[in-house]
Amino acid sequence: MSASALISTVDVASVSLLEPPEWRADTLRRHAEGSRILTLFGRRLSDRVLVTTAFRKPTGAIELTRALIGPDGFRALTPELPELHCFERELHEQTGVRVEGHPWLKPLRYEGQAQAAMNAYPFYALTGKEVHEVQVGPIHAGVIEPGAFRFMCHGEQVQHLEIQLGYQHRGVERMLLERAPLRLAPLVETVAGDTSVAHAWAYCAAIEALTGCALEMETEVARAVALELERVAMHLAGLSGIAADIGFLQGATSYGRLRTSAINTTLRLCGSRFGRGALRPGGIGMKLPPEVLDEVEQALQLLRRDVPIVNECFLGAETVRQRLRGIGVLSPASARALGVVGVVARASGLAIDARAQMTEGAYALAPIELQRFEEGDCWARMRVRVAELDASLGWLEQAVRAFPSWQRPLEPIGALPSRQIALAVVEGWRGEVVHCLETDDAGRLAHYKVQDPSLRNWMGLAIAMRQNEISDFPVCNKSFDSSYCGHDL
């Protein structure tokens, strides 16, 4: 078991299988009682579709419910719970199940046969005098991933942004079922390559939970070191990007070079600047001998010393505040309704962070405080990242001192048990990464659901862009910093 990730393992037989109307009412009731929906997904079983829903109760416990949906489909939950829009769209796209009354049942990422219809995406059309539309993408002007954006404008003002994704769809989930379940780490690490560690941890934790493999505290801490270094590096990359997008070049170059220090530290630990190979089922692929410990401590000291100097220059500049405050606002009410997670949620006042409330494992060693702002604008999202960067660096300094050397063989992993479900949640730098694995009667993987936080956050960007100008889009997009491939899978 991995105590530093949120884990739930259950017997398939013990999960209540509800009738569709009952399942619908139960979902609404749980939500009203304060449970947060972690994921909703399904798979086809001949003429029916098995839907699984996972909730996080206010107590922190994770609970699952299931329903078998027949050929008649089910009445969409999205009208009551807009946050489910993406899950129901995905479910419809992946299984063909009928979702009655969904207000926005558009393709999510064009899987399978649907790929051919990509150019016929049914964009929302804005009509009227002085109305115009601007299409950007799928190829963008930078060295970044592809996705298409259509701005519907009245004069200079964006009335709505519609985001068409799916250009990065490779077919990850299907491949995860085609390969040996214990050897999926390299593939999982590329679900979203800038989040390799978080995805790898969710995968490893789920496999370990299924097979009853217990890890030493030292291993837990080592994994969290890799995860926090990933967070530090990507928050620095994000800050560098925001600075570049508002033309504050000193911030862009300085945060950028600090990121180099962070990823080169990860490189020293595992041989890859992106944490490839850092985690494997049963343990870690990292080493921390004394000579490397010195280098890691020096790098952390440098970051602790230099990041505040750049912060002071960047955050203290009136021009930066002017450019980011009040831009791209996602109100707390919208954030809650859309079910956004991670940095985006915390910048709009929501207290969601899987690392908080950890009473055991690596984060109990030195608790990380949840960083939250209320304004929901580009400035707030940037401030969350600055604050988290600082918190992670503080945690890292304590953690590497607590276990000043690691080198441990992998714990043996037994065969997967039959008919079990393991759900793992890891707080990656963008937000919660959710992996849910289910085994069949023979102990093979029957389903592998991967969920990057980006799935839930892209719509937040679309809503935040309303009443802004197109020229604010780059900085808004960077402040959300969602993943294209993590969404497209």
Binding site: E111, G112, Q115, M118, N119, P138, I139, A141, G142, V143, I144, E145, P146, G166, Y167, Q168, H169, R170, G171, R174, M175, R179, R183, A185, P186, L187, T190, V191, A192, G193, D194, S196, Q250, T253, S254, G256, R257, T260, N264, L267, R268, L269, G271, S272, R273, F274, R276, G277, V292, R305, D306, I309, V310, E312, C313, G316, A317, S483, Y484, C485
Partner: protein
């Protein structure tokens, strides 16, 4: 006040650039693999079986850098320690076949500098990057060649925003079916002379996604890369040195 803050950043920054990119070796990097010539254990195919991308063939052991994701599963699987990864980042090649490393081979084949391209682009090379299923790791490493550490601009190598301004198309990712049209359009929008660079295991061979349902590599059967840059992701030094070798820049 703000000028002082700015000055403090400058002082803390110091000099960040790597003076000689051709000899720089990233400490701890899992780079160029080397295969010893000592014989395998009879009947052993541990490395071949362990490889997630079918990059290894046995008797004699050969490793295809165009497929390798540098996961080191082969190292752990070998009972004789025949395979090890060095920190060498120089792995680029102009011929696909040069990416296959044989037993006892300690370095890559010399990059064949192209005299025509060297004359055209040796002092100014504009690159347009397109990701088609890339996981954002190669993309971040490619963007990094222009940062203050690697500073590829010193050689006149720069990223540009439009294919119309570009001399080379730098492709990452296994080529998703949904990006096929866009990649083709970007290539056709580029003025000649132009060339294609494939970066990372995904772009070179499909890598982990060779047989993925959403991948269609037909574009690469009509346009062949002139330069291959291995890695998962490719390190900025691998990319820069591949270009320097290809254009004969010293």
């Amino acid at each position: 006040m703000s000028a002082l803050k700015s000055l403090r950043v400058l002082l803390s920054q110091g000099k960040q650039y790597i003076p000689d990119l051709t000899t720089a070796v990233p400490k701890g990097f899992r780079g160029l693999p080397v295969i010893d010539s000592e014989p395998c254990e009879p009947g052993c195919s541990g490395c071949v079986d362990a490889c997630p991308t079918a990059a290894i063939t046995s008797a004699p052991v050969r490793l295809d850098l165009g497929r390798c994701v540098f996961c080191s599963a082969c190292v752990e699987a070998c009972p004789r320690g025949k395979i090890r990864f060095t920190s060498e980042p120089k792995m680029g090649a102009t011929l696909r076949s040069d990416l296959v490393i044989g037993e006892g081979q300690e370095q890559m084949m010399q990059l064949r500098a192209s005299a025509g391209f060297a004359k055209l682009f040796g002092r100014s090379l504009k690159l347009r990057q397109v990701s088609a299923g890339g996981c954002n790791a190669c993309e971040l490493e490619l963007a990094a060649i222009a940062n203050v550490n690697f500073d590829a601009q010193r050689f006149g190598i720069e990223w540009v925003a439009s294919p119309r301004h570009a001399d080379a198309l730098v492709l990452t990712g296994p080529l998703t079916r949904t990006m096929k049209d866009a990649v083709t359009m970007a290539w056709e929008a580029m003025p000649e002379p132009r060339f294609l660079v494939a970066v990372g295991a995904c772009a070179i061979s499909g890598g982990l996604y060779e047989h993925a349902a959403g991948v269609d590599r037909a574009f690469l059967s009509s346009v062949g890369p002139a330069l291959f840059v291995p890695g998962c992701p490719a390190h900025p030094l691998t990319m820069i040195n591949a270009i320097l070798g290809f254009l004969g820049i010293r």
